[in-house]
């Protein structure tokens, strides 16, 4: 079964494509496909981080910074308070380009740093992006955020906020394209170069790999994916929201997704996104609705709202996971290979 195992991400995507169909068969209170949309966006973010941290082994704590840059570029390119007013794909391209530029600017001076120092530099980058957006209010409207973002129009079709299905398949197709490209990269000379840098930088350099260039290419691919995730997030919300929405917590959630799924594993990232974001947006909302429907629990009880105890479960799950399955839910094929010997 190793072939199926290494292609599991395509199985996941196929199942996701069928979810809205399944949804119509379920009773009203159990429907969930609507809530898969943010999961697609976060899966894209995780995919970008996975290229940098999972494949190339560069700990990046600034994923939210790239997401913010992508999101704000998309907002500035589309919103009618600015003169640009590009279409959906034009704006997506714009945010990918600004994300890429930011990746190059951050990468040039920092990619020669080793391990932990790079992590600190990217952490600083995430904070800087947030403060710049908050304070550059002539351009970014500061803490108000940019809104309204016009609904995307594709081939004459207007995406209405009321109807989730077109959005669902839009995000699904973009995620699918990204998964195909990243898995192509992983199974090619480029992916091997990234992994060889993670495994042993010196040996890789002595075999003729331009290490800085390999790291830079990983950083650029990661930055592009993260900023596209940001652009989709903004179009999904219809607003950039407050700059504080792109804080360190987002970077950490993205990192958790990659680690819970399995560092360097594409199906792992998809599953990680489902587990981490789905826990919050599907499972907990269902539980909250169920608790409210029980007349025996009074609404003043602190346990009645899952928001009061969700991080408790979350933290506990992470501790248990790191104790019993530190390599992730779906470890990368190479790890798997090694255990099977």
């Amino acid at each position: 079964m190793p072939r199926l195992r290494s292609n599991l991400h395509f199985v996941f995507l196929a199942v996701a494509a069928l979810c809205p169909l399944l949804d119509t068969l379920l009773p009203e209170q159990l429907r969930f496909a609507d809530a898969l949309r943010p999961i697609f966006i976060f899966a894209l973010l995780g995919l970008g981080l996975n290229v940098v941290t999972g494949f190339t082994g560069l700990l990046n704590l600034g994923a939210a910074g790239f997401m913010a840059i992508g999101g704000y570029s998309y907002a500035i390119a589309t919103c009618d308070i600015y003169p640009f007013q590009l279409g959906f794909f034009g704006a997506l391209l714009m945010s990918a380009l600004t994300g890429m530029t930011a990746g190059i600017l951050l990468g040039l001076p920092t990619l020669r740093l080793r391990g932990d120092y790079l992590a600190i530099a990217t952490l600083g980058f995430g904070e800087i992006v947030q403060s710049i957006i908050r304070n550059l209010d002539v351009i970014t409207k500061g803490t108000q955020g940019i809104n309204p973002i016009p609904a995307p129009i594709l081939f004459g079709y207007v995406f209405q906020p009321e109807n989730y299905l077109p959005w669902y398949y839009l995000f699904w197709s973009i995620l699918t394209v990204a998964v195909v490209v990243v898995s192509n990269l992983e199974r090619s000379s480029v992916g091997r170069r990234w992994i060889s840098v993670r495994e042993d930088e010196l040996a890789s350099a002595c075999m003729g790999t331009d290490v800085v260039r390999a790291k830079m290419s990983a950083f650029i691919v990661g930055a592009i994916l993260c900023s596209i995730a940001g652009a989709l997030w903004v179009s999904y919300l219809g607003s950039t929201g407050e700059p504080g929405n792109y804080d360190f917590q987002i970077s950490i959630i993205a990192l958790c997704m990659v680690i819970v799924g399995g560092l360097g594993s594409i199906p792992g990232v998809l599953l990680g996104a489902l587990v981490m974001i789905g826990f919050n947006s599907i499972l907990l909302t269902k539980i909250a609705a169920w608790i409210n429907s029980l007349s025996t629990v009074s609404s003043t009880n602190v346990l009645a709202s899952p928001n009061n105890w969700k991080y408790l479960i979350f933290g506990l799950a992470l501790v248990v996971m790191m104790r019993f399955k530190p390599e992730g839910l779906l470890p990368a094929g190479r790890h798997y290979h090694r255990r099977g010997k």
Binding site: L105, L185, V190, A205, M207, G208, R334, R338, K341
Partner: protein
């Protein structure tokens, strides 16, 4: 003609002189060994030759080219263009608010068509105004200094020497443990002729030809070191002696003119070191010059065309196996003064 010429190489770490004034020469097709007691500076000399450390003084001439590159035209162009770009970017970033106000906000009336030519002219006049040049100059200096520093530090680097035809193995095996045997070899081939990001990510037609050629070359090399049976096993699962052979195959995959082997026979039993001797002779027959560090005297004495002896960082003897064996200074270094008398 000599492949490698080392002229009075010195390697100092603070007050410690690890390699002192060592000169050596490897001619085409020769097998030269470097021997010496533990701590004599053999591996340090190796690292200085392969560009892992920049030598404190002295020069390494590989294939007629100085391994420490000087400043050439391409470097100057790269440095100047980086500096120009940095100047322009700093100008934009530091004046983002003013530029936005003067170029965008001053001309954009809500939902009216935007006068692009006027805005571009306004932008041009700001960039060339006297308010802008201090930013440009500081950015130019900053970028220029950064690019120069990067050039200075990358004057010797393992990957450039590897591209020029110098390959090595390591004293403590440094394979890419998580990768399969064949992937280890492929990394070295990719660095020479791998697909780029676009070819690999989008599976362009040119990708498949490169992949086929790389796999063929990798299989041939595994065949050469008799590891073809293990091609798809993880490198970490190979027995020790085979890992050494895989490292040699990986080094050969870079198409070297000179192969540096750092204690290839360490930890091998007599049968294995016998096999190693044949392997090194077969490598030499392929026209690859070999520079060898070894403690295993049987290996050294049977295959070396010339032997260089180091002790406390100094070269104490050089010559054929018989000459070195009879040299009193060598006997003294290995066995002490009493034995030398």
């Amino acid at each position: 003609m000599s492949v490698l010429l080392v002229n009075s190489l010195c390697m100092r770490f603070g007050g410690l002189v690890a390699v002192n004034n060592v000169s050596l020469k490897v001619d085409t097709g020769q097998i030269v060994s470097v021997i010496g007691p533990n701590g004599a500076g053999k591996t340090t000399a190796f690292n200085a030759i392969t560009g892992v450390y920049p030598p404190s003084s002295g020069e390494v001439i590989f294939n007629g080219i100085n391994a420490r590159r000087g400043l050439d035209g391409a470097n100057v162009i790269a440095i100047v263009s980086t500096a120009l770009l940095a100047g322009f970017l700093l100008l934009l970033i530091c004046n983002a608010q003013t530029i936005w106000e003067q170029v965008i906000n001053a001309h954009y009336v809500y939902l009216e068509p935007f006068p692009w030519t006027k805005a571009v002219r306004e932008f041009g006049s700001f960039v060339f105004s006297s308010a802008a040049w201090p930013y440009f100059v500081s950015g130019f200096l900053l970028g220029g200094a950064g690019a120069t520093a990067i050039w200075f530090r990358s004057r010797t680097s393992p990957f450039i020497l590897c591209k020029a035809g110098m390959a090595r193995t390591f004293q403590n095996i440094r394979l890419f443990q998580e990768m399969s045997v064949i992937e280890n070899v492929l990394v070295a081939i990719d660095a020479r002729a791998g697909a780029n990001l676009f070819e690999a990510g989008l599976r362009l037609p040119s990708f498949f030809g490169k992949r086929r050629a790389a796999l063929k070359a990798a299989r041939e090399l595994l065949d050469f070191v008799q590891l073809e049976k293990f091609a798809n096993q993880p490198a970490s699962a190979l027995p020790y002696g085979y890992q050494r052979r895989l490292e040699i195959a990986r080094a050969l995959a870079t198409h070297p003119k000179l192969l540096l082997l750092d204690e290839p026979a360490a930890g091998m039993n007599p049968a294995e070191s016998e096999e190693l001797i044949t392997l090194i002779e077969r490598i030499s027959e392929r026209g690859v010059a070999v520079l060898l560090i070894e403690h295993h005297m049987k290996v050294v004495m049977s295959i070396s065309d010339r032997i260089v002896v180091l002790d406390y960082g100094n070269k104490i003897a050089e010559g054929s196996a018989a000459e070195v064996r009879a040299n009193p200074r060598v006997i003294e270094a290995y066995l002490g003064k009493e034995a030398a008398r």
